[in-house]
């Protein structure tokens, strides 16, 4: 992460650490400053876990609650506060998917009409993200997490391993298996034409 100089000339890591200490000591202003500094980053990450605005807001709150409750365990080191917070956010999002899967709340791929496939330069980013989100939602939560971080966040294997708590070999294996599953889902539901059409533009 590139160190960001704050107005006072203080480095971001120092400022985070100071705010953590003050937050733990009961200073609400320090907590607010700390959480507000990262709210945008966390909100954008949680949008990868849900496309529902209300659920996104609840997930962001849950991340901050978890961060507050385990803040005494945060130690400044080679990993900045943002990495620590993003790891918590990733796990909160993963738990959210797991609870949805337990309740059987799966998104369907209804409405994907092969005739609607277009050239990639004709697809809006939000539409592409919605489509990818729906497709990845067909996978089990662990596979979905690996591919979501790979596709949406461009996370490396090391990064995914750090954020998920799995080892690198497991992440590699999951990524390989998840892509295989994705291909089978596309083939089984006769969506090959749709997805091949996206690139060539059959419309």
């Amino acid at each position: 992460m590139i160190p960001v100089a704050l107005a006072s000339g203080e480095r971001l890591e120092q400022s985070d650490w100071r705010d953590c200490q003050n937050c733990l000591a009961g200073d609400d202003n320090a907590c607010t400053a700390l959480f507000k500094r990262y709210e945008r980053r966390i909100a954008h990450l949680m949008w990868r876990f849900t496309r529902d605005r209300d659920a996104q807001g609840e997930l962001v709150q849950e991340v901050f609650v978890q961060a507050y409750l385990s803040m005494h365990r945060y130690k400044p080191g080679p990993a900045p506060f943002e990495h620590w917070l993003v790891t918590i956010a990733t796990r909160v999002g993963y738990q959210f998917w797991k609870s949805q899967a337990r309740r059987g709340r799966m998104q369907t791929l209804e409405g994907l009409d092969p005739a609607a496939a277009r050239q990639t330069d004709q697809i809006e980013p939000a539409e592409a993200a919605e489509l990818l989100h729906k497709l990845l939602a067909q996978l089990p939560p662990a596979d979905r997490l690996v591919l979501t971080l790979m596709y949406f966040e461009e996370a490396s294997i090391e990064e995914i391993a750090r954020r998920s708590g799995w080892n690198k070999a497991m992440v590699k294996m999951r990524a390989y298996r998840a892509r295989g599953r994705l291909r089978r889902i596309i083939e089984d539901r006769n969506l090959t034409e749709f997805f091949t059409g996206i690139g060539h533009g059959t419309a």
Binding site: D28, C31, T32, F35, K36, E39, R40, A43, H44, M46, W47, R48, R53, Q56, G57, V60, Q61, F64, V65, Y68, L69, T120, I123, E124, P125, A126, A128, A129, L131, L132, L135, M150, Y151, F152, E154, R179, L182, R183, I186, E187, L191, T192, F195, T196, I198, G199, H200
Partner: protein, 86 residues
């Protein structure tokens, strides 16, 4: 284009999406955090208190039992039994 290549292309576009921001109210959140912390600590406090009470009760019973089973406390009975023996 292969389906997985198409998904890679789709992902490149999806990454350029600007996700919506949120506006979390930190004040109520902090109150909720503190309540959650207390709620998590409450069972521990209750457990510690009940353990302490149980330990006191056991200690009191043990002392009481020790008192009635000392030689001094049973010696009069023992003496009386001896007296009644033929």
């Amino acid at each position: 284009m292969e389906p997985l290549d198409a998904i890679d292309a789709l992902a490149r576009i999806a990454r350029t999406e600007t996700p919506p921001d949120t506006n979390v109210r930190i004040g109520p959140l902090l109150r909720a955090c503190r309540a959650e912390k207390q709620w998590r600590l409450a069972p521990l406090a209750w457990s510690a208190a009940l353990s302490a009470i149980a330990a006191c009760v056991i200690l009191v019973l043990a002392i009481h039992r020790t008192e009635i089973t000392t030689v001094d406390s049973i010696s009069p009975l023992f003496s009386a039994a001896q007296v009644q023996m033929p």
